[in-house]
């Protein structure tokens, strides 16, 4: 009984801090389960994918109701993230666990560096947030970049029709290739892949930041589903681990999104950079068998 409550509390903490810091739950859930609770890495990735889909569903509901997410663009890119997730889901069962641990350590380092370099709210407007699974409640309405191209008066091409109010889509083929990579990372490591998709859409495709974050959040559900079914049918999802964790993450992410605007997360962020670095070190040790 105690173990179930501990899992629920762990999921709650991962959901809350993930939401407060704009991180996806997967980045925190996988090490929590694998290093904290001794769950085998593939099983931890599987449980993380379920939790990631829960937060994506809840977030997408809010974003779509408020018309923040770009449904058309998201659907096109989903085709490629889902394909990457399919390949990644199959690769996850072929690669040695040590390789997955090594890849996860690299991801942790990348997220730690991204968080450390993130500027304060007053000056970060121009920067890309590492918002993976995203908050369940967007803090403000979407901003439309002042410098983006104006939409054509009459959309003529398929790509033109994927744009939105105040912006056009650029470099769609490159976005498709990058989306395959995001899906691959998501399936292998149990994360949402927003760390790739948000910068990809914002910097490469020219989508305003908030719309990129919302669209990425919406896409995560389909992306993670493509690989989650592989983990499910191969018996890697333990319902007794996934249940309490998913409930905890859902409640934690809901709380985090509601209080995020009232909390100064600067100290919390630096604390998490240290936690991520330590986690990367531990994952590296496991990968190398030290």
């Amino acid at each position: 009984m105690i173990a179930g409550l501990i899992l629920l509390a762990g999921g709650f903490a991962a959901g809350t801090f993930g939401s407060l810091l704009g991180l996806g739950g997967g980045v925190l859930i996988v090490p929590l389960l694998a290093l904290g609770f001794g769950v085998p890495l593939r099983a931890a990735v599987a449980v993380s994918l379920v939790s990631v889909i829960v937060t994506s569903n809840a977030g997408a509901a809010v974003y779509l109701s408020r018309h923040v997410a770009n449904l058309r663009l998201g659907m096109v890119l989903e085709l490629f993230t889902a394909t990457g997730a399919l390949v990644g889901g199959l690769m996850a069962f072929m690669l040695p666990v040590e390789v997955l641990e090594g890849l996860f350590a690299i991801l942790m380092l990348w997220v730690a560096v991204s968080m450390a370099r993130r500027r304060e709210p007053s000056e970060r407007k121009e920067r890309v947030e590492v918002a993976a699974n995203g908050p369940l409640e967007p803090a403000t309405e979407p901003e439309v970049d002042a410098q983006v191209d104006q939409p054509p008066t009459a959309p003529v091409t398929f790509t033109d029709r994927l744009g939105g109010a105040g912006y056009r889509i650029h470099h769609l083929p490159l976005g498709m290739v990058g989306s395959v990579g995001a899906g691959l990372v998501s399936a292998l490591l149990g994360v949402g892949g927003g760390i790739i998709k948000v910068p990809l859409m914002h910097l490469l495709l020219g989508v305003p930041l908030r719309i990129s974050t919302a669209t990425s959040n919406m896409m995560i559900g389909v992306t993670a589903t493509s690989s989650a079914v592989i983990y499910l049918l191969r018996g890697e999802i333990d319902p007794f681990v996934a249940g309490p964790t998913a409930i905890g993450v859902f409640l934690g992410a809901s709380l985090g999104s509601r209080v995020s605007h009232r909390i100064d997360v600067r100290i919390l962020r630096w604390l998490f950079v240290l936690v991520l670095l330590y986690t990367a070190y531990e994952m590296t040790r496991k990968a190398l068998g030290l």
Partner: protein, 132 residues
């Protein structure tokens, strides 16, 4: 509704904003329903003192066994139903969006949603083939 918002057949075009609102509402309701199933399962496992840290697969996934497990009030039945609902929701969203986009006169985007569904189906087939 202005005449240019109507298709040649005279049928009114679907409003994309309305489609997004409907999908949003369905996702909200679906998420809460899935969480309710999982919560019942978690409460059941607490009552039954099931240890999730045993690292032994106590309840392997069997779709056909879920109704019997639920009728017998076994926690794994509710947990699996919740997890399957969670995983099915994004697929449902793609299906609904695809149908809506087709009705809105966007056949290419509807085709994209068919492509996404095909990828999910290939995932299922690949997992079954690998397992066997």
């Amino acid at each position: 509704m202005s005449p240019d918002e109507r298709r040649p057949s005279g049928a009114p075009r679907l409003d994309p904003a309305a489609v997004e609102s409907v999908i949003g509402r369905v996702l909200v309701i679906g998420t809460y329903v899935a969480m309710l199933f999982i919560l019942i399962g978690v409460l059941g496992m607490l009552v039954d003192s099931i240890n999730p840290m045993s690292h032994v697969t106590l309840a392997p996934f069997d779709l056909a066994a879920i109704p019997a497990d639920i009728l017998a009030l076994r926690p794994e039945g509710f947990l699996w139903l919740g997890i399957v609902t969670v995983i099915a929701l994004p697929v449902g969203r793609v299906v609904f969006a695809g149908i809506s986009l087709l009705a809105a006169g966007e056949p290419r985007l509807a085709l994209v949603s068919v492509g996404v569904l095909l990828v999910v189906i290939v995932s299922i087939v690949a997992a079954i083939e690998l397992d066997s």
